[in-house]
Amino acid sequence: MSAEIKERTAADKGQARCPGAPSTQEIIAADKVAAPGWVRSESYSFLGDEDIPTARYLESSYAQEELDRLWTRTWQFACREEHIPQIGDYYVYDLGPYSFIVTRVAEREVRAYYNACLHRGTKLRASGTMGRASEFKCSFHGWSWNVDGSNRTVVCPWDFPHVDRSRFSLPQARVELLGGFVFINMDSDAKPLAEYLGPEAKAHIEAWGLHDRYIHLHVSKRLPCNWKLAIEAFLEAYHVIQTHPQVAVSNGDANSQYDVYGEHVNRFISTLGVLSPHLYGKHTEQDILDQFTLGDSGALGEVERSLGEGGKARGVMAEMFRGMFEKATRTDLSKVSDSELLDCFSYTIFPNCFLFPGVSLPMVYRFRPDARDHRMCLYEVLFLRPVPVSGERPEPAEPIHLGDSQSFTAAEGMDPGFGAILDQDTDNLFLQQEGLAASAKRGLTLGNYQEIRVRHFEQAVDRYLALEPKRPDWQRLQKR
């Protein structure tokens, strides 16, 4: 083989696409209501084809390094703004051993305080809680802080002549707001969120208008795997034909589109209402229509699915959804494209946030390591519905905490079909966690295109793990 041919082969890596099937962009281009620019673009890059070492999923020392190096430097989804609508409202966000009181201090200003008394360290608010405060008072000895973080009370100050109250404000993490989400970062030197996301990905997020949605359903569950394995189970549609055979009939899985944006954002677009290329010749358009699964079918209710004369499932579903979602959610969707109504758009904002800005699959996922066991993690799924046209915003749903062995279908309000899909996804994970430990092979082998998001994600992990540990300097983190 000549040197020239070798070079061309290397350049072609990652360029192969599912043969004999239309591309995602070709499917979307044929839709009746055209998609916006953020849908009609591609951003794939080949990032290598080496195996991913598996120690990162198996070793507790690696998990500790992540806590010291990665989680202390990255922008994390802490809560939604709707969790803290009024001044003094707070929401406690935990990540491993870290804990923050995320609170609104002004109409457009949110702060995140390290959740620990500066006297003897007691948490000022219990983990997993929310409420409203005019002060954050320690339940142990009563030292307290104003909502703006300044010290309010040192009990028996005569005994603490060495405490300068002006230097005892609560240390803060960085906070930025985007799309109704509150992001925090423990690194005071971190680049701004806009730079972290990059201009293209940020423009996508802004285009979705997710600030105009509310949490209709919130379900959490511990999963029996490392947090990165849980995330990576949702980064591709490659698994659909084996894991979710009931979905494949109406999902363009093997011809989904994969994109990477800078260092922290990646996505796929997986078209729905079309047959899987794995199943070409085996199903009719009516089958596709009948098998279509919605993430939020509760917004629709029961409906007869009729193809009509010469109709195509994708077009019929788009028209039907537009009218029914408008009615059910009291919103105007006349300008929303077929693709936004139907397709599965999955974006990862490294490290813990998954956004699905579509209308029929309107989820947000969050993944966090379990502080007690690196082979466990916390998974949350939130369904975001559009705020009604009346502008009256419903209060965010209370989280439903499922037991470790419960089905997602047991969560009240969960669409049964979608709950079953989540069960299928997560039931693979303990097998993978245990299999990685049992395997003679110490690396994951990834597809160049369909699994590019896994590689992109792990390369971000690698970059943070190569840095020195980041320890908070409590005095430097005070805002005076």
Partner: protein
């Protein structure tokens, strides 16, 4: 607006003759719009009347954790949070939902009769 269940003609589960009901008119229903709460003194107790989740509840205004008043706390979807240390309580049952409280708060029978909210603070 509806009241908590079991408010009319409550029977003693022991089979004893029913205790006479001593519902007291506490405020006009119009004074308590959705999302509002108001403390009243009743039979020597501070009682918090809450309108949440399209229902009216009556609970003790005193947190079971450190005896702080709940009336300035955040209320949402059938719970109230103590503003001082953050304990939350289920408005229907009084059950403590999170630390630092473990003990429940008292709940009282409440009913909406015509335009009035009435509470029986003798019976939790």
């Amino acid at each position: 607006m509806s009241a908590s269940p079991g408010v009319d003609g409550a029977r003693d589960p022991s089979g004893q003759p029913p205790v006479p009901e001593t519902f007291v008119r506490v405020m006009a229903a119009a004074e308590l719009p959705a999302g509002a709460k108001k403390a009243v003194d009743l039979a020597g107790k501070s009682v918090l009347i809450c309108h949440s989740n399209e229902r009216v509840y009556a609970v003790s205004n005193i947190c079971s954790h450190a005896q702080e008043r709940l009336e300035c706390g955040r209320m949402s979807r059938g719970w109230i949070a103590c503003p001082m240390h953050g304990a939350r309580f289920d408005l229907a049952t009084g059950r403590a939902l999170n630390p630092p409280a473990k003990l429940p708060i008292a709940t009282y029978e409440v009913r909406v009769i015509g335009e009035w909210i009435e509470v029986n603070a003798d019976r939790g």
